[in-house]
Symmetry: C2
Subunit: 268 residues, 2 copies
Amino acid sequence: MKRQILFISDGTGITAETLGHSLMTQFPGVDFEERRYAFIDTAEKAEELRQQLLQQPGDDRLILLTVANQDIRKTLLDLPGQVLDIFSFAVSWMSKALGQAPEQHVGHAHGMVDPKAYQRRIDAINYALTFDDGLGRDYAEADVILVGVSRSGKTPTCLYLALHFGVKAANYPLTENDFDSMNLPSMLAPWKDKLFGLSIDPFRLAQIREARKPGSSYAKLNTCRMEVQFAERLFKRYRIPFLNTTETSIEEISAKILSVLKLEKPLY
Amino acid sequence: MKRQILFISDGTGITAETLGHSLMTQFPGVDFEERRYAFIDTAEKAEELRQQLLQQPGDDRLILLTVANQDIRKTLLDLPGQVLDIFSFAVSWMSKALGQAPEQHVGHAHGMVDPKAYQRRIDAINYALTFDDGLGRDYAEADVILVGVSRSGKTPTCLYLALHFGVKAANYPLTENDFDSMNLPSMLAPWKDKLFGLSIDPFRLAQIREARKPGSSYAKLNTCRMEVQFAERLFKRYRIPFLNTTETSIEEISAKILSVLKLEKPLY
């Protein structure tokens, strides 16, 4: 079953699309065809979109709206399809709960433009880039240090933690030297409470490494199997909490890390 | 007016918090105190949370739920506070619109764990890191090339575009050499359609640079003013679309770029 789903917003459309993706997981049998229409922030753009959709097939399309402006919303409610005006619904609820009328301007919901918060995000990104892959010297400033074998997902997770939570995340790659001694690398030893391990299925790891360095011994299944085994043994030996990233998205890994290390950070 | 707002989920909580932040922008007079409770995915955890909240003040707290599991939801609906079960509401709507019953498992809504999509994201992140700050040689593979003076927001935007949209984004810093000639840098000339400029208020730029290199001539207001002026002149001369990032979040900048360059990429 094929079905169009449209995310329409007078802002970035990120809220509509994020909610939409959550909803779509509940209907795995439907083959959704997604479109995002962001920054529909004037009556003209709204009307133009309406005309455009009227000329296309798909009157049974699903439409998720997150629009703050009343006038634009009127036109959009009238779009050809089944419209869920989720934002108005939630705003009304909140207005009643708070006993306050809402402001109807397009919100800076994402990333909060407050200069201080912005600076924290940027600092965290710079930190992740400086302390990537065992670079950098001193982990005193780190909120978390991700540990794992090469290509287990450390860098993207550090960047996500920085961008979305302003968390300073360093990462340290485990290599043969570490497995020979089976000791915690001396650089990490003073910061045991900040460590979090990433593990991965050796088959998946071999695939990822093969794509990067085809035919290398580094990408061989045996190498991967051995490295992952050693890494998990090290995690267990030093009681480092760890997570298998094979079936886990960057978002889930990040949220788990915050949850396990009890880092209370709001989402940007 | 101070008010607690809780984001509770059996998954990462990202959907609840994203929607919550959008809603909060509509009530700027309220001083919200946010808490996220992620991975509340067993009846025990739900009951534990209920007991915990019962012992804390704040019965007027707002609670945003995004929970797929029915049994857990029952407990959570009973939490002390005003509960908005937004996910159920939207799922019911969608179920009716589709004529299909929903599955009630916790969804992998974020980042889509499909290995191919994951690989695209990772490739895009590697691309952004390799082609950061004028590094890398050939922009043939780039989806977009961000151009702007140092510290105008290029790197965070490239990383966001990579992480969230799998967009391959390079960035090129404009420097004195470019301003002397007022020609488009030769590396960029073949890829005019992929260029997007970032500009920034000189005062804000001076602040950001000062935090990074205190007392440097690089951070002087005059330097910043001149560089920004030249950069904007260059953008106009070559008809490069550009955006002032001063009051714009990384999310908004990214969404604008996709919208202007008509890059149709779903959000991860």
